[in-house]
């Protein structure tokens, strides 16, 4: 009886996997084309840039006007944390405690 129960449950699970989440008796993948043309007027909705490949310099260039990151000199800026000039290698030497905050 247990074996039968397991088989029934397995087949039920398989049925749900194959036919579940459908929209009705006429279930099955719809082959109907969507009504909306997703590519219609795409140029109006997105900025489309055409990149050109420079074979001599071996790089892509974008002739269109666009925003890009530029490094500018803002002078002395107080940074939140300044990395040390280098990372050192240390052993597991004793660490000094100090009560100053």
């Amino acid at each position: 009886m247990e074996v039968v129960k397991k088989i029934v449950l397995y087949l039920f699970g398989l049925f749900i996997l194959l036919f579940g989440n459908r929209k009705g008796p006429e279930s099955g993948v719809s082959t109907q084309e969507p009504n909306v043309d997703l590519n219609k007027d795409i140029e109006k909705r997105f900025h489309v840039h055409t990149l050109l490949y420079n074979t001599i310099q071996d790089r892509l260039t974008n002739p269109a006007v666009h925003f890009r990151t530029e490094r500018i000199d803002v002078g002395a800026v107080e940074k939140t944390s300044s990395p040390s000039k280098k990372t050192q290698t240390e052993t597991a030497k004793p660490e000094d405690a100090s009560g100053t905050k």
Partner: protein, 315 residues
């Protein structure tokens, strides 16, 4: 993602200046140096979001909106709940609304025209200090008009705990973070069972008091050593008693605990507790927060909790 190969007992160590302190992070050389960038970024993130000295941080907004509720994030609420728990346990001897008193003593201004506050000025400042007047309502916080909070006694340590969380997530089991010498958080495993920590005399520079061998926890210490102001030729430490308004009498406190955030708050609070009250109090602290510690009082008498000397060495 960051691991290269297994090497032991050698560490990448990098130092940066954060939270007005020198912060060093050490990770085994088996891990990439890039991990250090990630870890310091975590501390910077905490700094930007919560440091009361940073414009537009949550605590700064709360201070500037005194008298009105400010919507904050879950972390801020978590911080306040833990802070209030410690403040309540010490009945106000630890209080983050102590900023008016710090300003009165001149800790955030130039040394010119510093003078001892008068009794009236002290009383006026003390009226504004009361953690019980910090209201929490859901995800909103309000302090009373005239109150001002400071994150100086806990935020750096909280950031250190965040770093440790990330270290564990990255699979690092042997590491150390030394934040200003006052918060030293460490991870250990079988290959490196303990870190050596040196504790120095608060009055004699570079005079070693004792060493500690510690494992998987945090050593937090508070002292009146170097952050002082001078008024009429006399030095006053920066850890003030929120009840009397005067600098704490104890010279140094050290706490060995499970995490940095609690340790930092507890060590600050204990600076205001007379040493004769320590023994019974430390038993309660051990039961509640799992900590042990020592105090050096104004007469240089050292009191240890019962189990503290298990960690001590003379090296």
């Amino acid at each position: 993602m960051h691991r290269e190969q297994n090497k032991s007992q050698q560490y990448h160590a990098q130092v940066r200046f954060l939270f007005h302190a020198t912060v060093k992070i050490k990770i085994p050389v088996a891990y990439s140096i890039l991990l250090l960038d990630d870890l310091f970024s975590i501390m910077e993130s905490v700094d930007y979001q919560y440091n009361s000295y940073r414009k537009d941080s949550y605590f700064d907004l709360i201070n500037r909106s005194a008298g009105s509720f400010v919507e904050v994030d879950d972390v801020t609420i978590f911080l306040f709940k833990k802070i209030k728990e410690v403040a309540s346990f010490f009945d106000g001897l630890y209080d983050i609304s102590i900023m008016p008193l710090l300003r009165l003593w001149g800790f955030y201004q130039s040394g010119e025209n510093r003078r001892l506050p008068s009794e009236e000025e002290l009383q006026a400042a003390l009226q504004k200090i009361d953690f019980r007047k910090i209201e929490l309502e859901g995800n909103k916080v309000r302090i009373q008009k005239g109150q001002e909070l400071t994150t100086g006694s806990f935020l750096k340590a909280f950031a250190v705990d965040r770093v440790v969380k990330e270290l564990k997530r990255a699979g690092v089991s042997d590491a150390l973070i030394n934040a200003g010498g006052s918060t030293i958080r460490y991870l250990n495993d079988e290959s490196h069972p303990f870190w050596d920590i040196r504790v120095y005399d608060p009055d004699v520079r570079e005079q070693l008091l004792f060493g500690l061998k510690l494992s998987n926890g945090c050593f937090s210490t508070s002292a009146q050593k170097e952050t002082r102001i001078v008024i009429d030729g006399k030095e006053y430490g920066h850890i003030l008693n929120p009840k009397t308004g005067f600098p704490a009498a104890n010279k140094q406190v050290g706490i060995v605990g499970k995490n940095a955030f609690e340790g930092d708050m507890l060590s600050t609070a204990l600076m205001n507790v007379p040493s004769e009250q320590w023994k019974p109090l430390l038993k309660q602290l051990d039961e509640r927060w799992g900590v042990s510690g020592f105090v050096i009082d104004e007469n240089r008498k050292i009191t240890f909790s019962d189990n503290f000397n298990e960690n001590m060495t003379t090296e």
